[in-house]
Symmetry: C2
Subunit: 347 residues, 2 copies
DNA sequence: CTTCTTAAAACAACCGTTTGCCATGCGGTA
DNA sequence: TACCGCATGGCAAACGGTTGTTTTAAGAAG
């Protein structure tokens, strides 16, 4: 009974393996593996053995080697979080989504791995090299991922976006949300309403057009109201505002980013919110509720998106990806949170 | 020559392996492995063979299996990002840090894995199960990690914090930063200055006390100035402000969170910034520069922290963790960015 | 006293790479 | 001609688990 397997890492103990426990218990590796990875009911070993193995394992400080298990079982128990933009460019909206998504998966033993779409194509190795069992994308499916979908045999869910290619996707009712936001203003008597959205010069996301259309539709349906849409940044908004001979009495902002900018412009123009102008924005994130005035907003159900997305992915992970029976697209509603920035139109 | 190894995943092709390429090239697995993982110079194979293997590999769409490589080589090429709080609670300051940290590591082939300190102790399996080659923590080393350091044989760096236990740490000069912020106000003639910091009822982070002390010291050194320190939230600040018979003329905020709150209180009290009161804050993140007025601030060098932290970790990953020669603590300076929220004291 | 059944555990192949060491063969030198 | 060295590449043992297929032995049934 020689003491095999000594030292292979730089310093420290050589890490306890199944073989060590097996030797210690007088069992085979296979039996130890079963004792440790199965519940007592499903385990073909005697209850006494099952318990003893677990006791010894705990005592020896055994930790299953993730790589070995992944290699043998074919599942890495990791999910790739694919992001195209840089992390800091993401909104808090997304962080909350990711957190809940990740927590839901963690309950089932999955870890989240950050995968940036880099130029060197490292992401391909990660995705195609079996490092992850599935993926999640935000906002939109990057073109390269879309192109890689056939090769990539794993499920991909999209959070807060619409996609044909993804295995599943959770989106929000942007059109309806915009309608609701606008109707809120209309109900307060506003008849000249402006919407500010900054596509940043890039091809706008689906949400952009949906919210725009929802806004315009609501205004049009009112019959006697006028709607203006500005695609531009704070400066564009500022210039437009100065040029009005009759300024709008209400502003709808595409996101908290536009809202903060708009508030700044209005303040400089000595416009009181909501006294002179009402403001409503999308996204209930910092600092929307902390500003003076606290902003009325359409809240995106980030947590719900994350949870539903995770559940969708888990189901495909369990059932396997059946091209016939994909979960498809789920749409969630937005909700209006009324705060201080909207009020009746001034007469 | 039978066609072995067919089907093991749900659907799709069985993924190309080294053996496939070897068979195709009439070489051994070992040679193929060498050709693919070494540069042509260090590879003991002929240049012709080296090239042919790579061509065939590319043609067959080969991707190295991360698990197998990790198991065989003993390195997972993954770094664990350990977080104790939930992701959305982190500031943008941290996201920028993480982004640069992650990008720097990615250049060297490392991936980032999210590791939440959960109650079920899953994090232990991840950290001790060889899933990561090293770790990074933010702000402070969670107690459980600190306790697990001896077992965990891998390097751990701390970003934006101070620690004896971590293998290495990058911190910022909070004391000096607070002094600088305060001196900026003193130079503008302010003599009644208030600092607002919200420890949130929890044991404050080292930064909290350092900034507080820096503030108090600067005020005291001025000789003829008065400094007030409030540990509380927006409400506490609001109440305190109402109670003043002679209000301060300047406010230093511990972070952008306090700053947004303070601005709100001041606005409601009809106090003009910077006309009546100057405001300076820490953290140059959204929406600090987008507010009206844009806030003067002490910028935390997030990107630099991320980069230095990654370099520190990479070195230990390369050299191995020598308990004698740890990189230790590196301290980075903060920088003052003057914007619209600070001005000369009103006479 | 066989034989059949079955619970309990052993066996061994395999997952896909890495890597130390050995075999081969060719060219050059003494 | 005999020998040495080197450039190439093959061989096979890890790495640490998982899992389908025996084996073993004990108890029940005939």
């Amino acid at each position: 009974m020689s003491t095999l397997s000594q030292s292979h890492s730089a310093g420290g103990q050589p890490a306890v393996t199944l073989a060590d426990i097996a030797r210690h218990c007088g069992l085979s590796k296979g039996s130890v593996s079963r004792a440790l990875s199965m519940t007592v009911e499903e385990c073909p070993l005697s209850e006494a053995t099952w318990k003893r193995v677990r006791e010894v394992a705990a005592e020896m400080g055994y930790r299953v080697n993730a790589q070995a298990r992944a290699l043998a079982s074919g599942r890495s128990m990791a999910i790739g979080l694919i992001y195209n933009d840089t992390l800091p460019q993401l909104d808090s909206v997304y962080y909350q989504m990711i957190e809940v998504f990740s927590a839901t998966l963690r309950e089932r033993g999955y870890q989240l791995a950050l995968v940036a779409i880099d130029e060197q194509g490292q992401w391909e190795d990660v995705l195609l090299g079996g490092r992850v069992d599935g993926c999640v994308c935000l906002h939109r499916l990057p073109p390269r991922i879309e192109a890689a979908m056939p090769r990539l045999q794993r499920p991909v869910v999209l959070l807060n976006g619409i996609s044909e290619s993804a295995s599943g996707a959770i989106s929000i009712d942007d059109h309806g949300g915009a309608v609701q936001a606008t109707e809120h203003l209309l109900a307060l008597g506003h008849r000249r309403i402006l919407m500010l959205a900054d596509a940043n010069g890039k091809t706008p996301h689906a949400s952009f057009n949906l919210r725009k259309e929802g806004f315009l539709k609501a205004v049009q349906d009112a019959g006697d109201a006028e709607g203006l849409f500005i695609d531009g940044d704070t400066d564009a908004f500022s210039k437009a505002w100065d040029a009005f001979d009759q300024a709008p009495t209400a502003v709808v902002c595409y996101s908290h980013l536009e809202a903060v900018g708009a508030l700044r412009v209005l303040r400089r123009a000595a416009v009181d919110v909501p006294g002179d102008v009402s403001v409503v924005t999308f996204n209930d994130v910092f600092p929307v509720a902390q500003l003076a005035p606290a902003l009325t907003c359409m809240a995106v159900p980030s947590a719900e998106i994350g949870r539903r997305g995770a559940e969708m992915l888990l189901e495909m992970l369990d059932q396997g990806v059946d091209p016939e029976r994909l979960p498809g697209q789920v749409e969630l509603p937005l909700s209006l949170i009324t705060r201080e920035s909207t009020g009746p139109v001034a007469r």
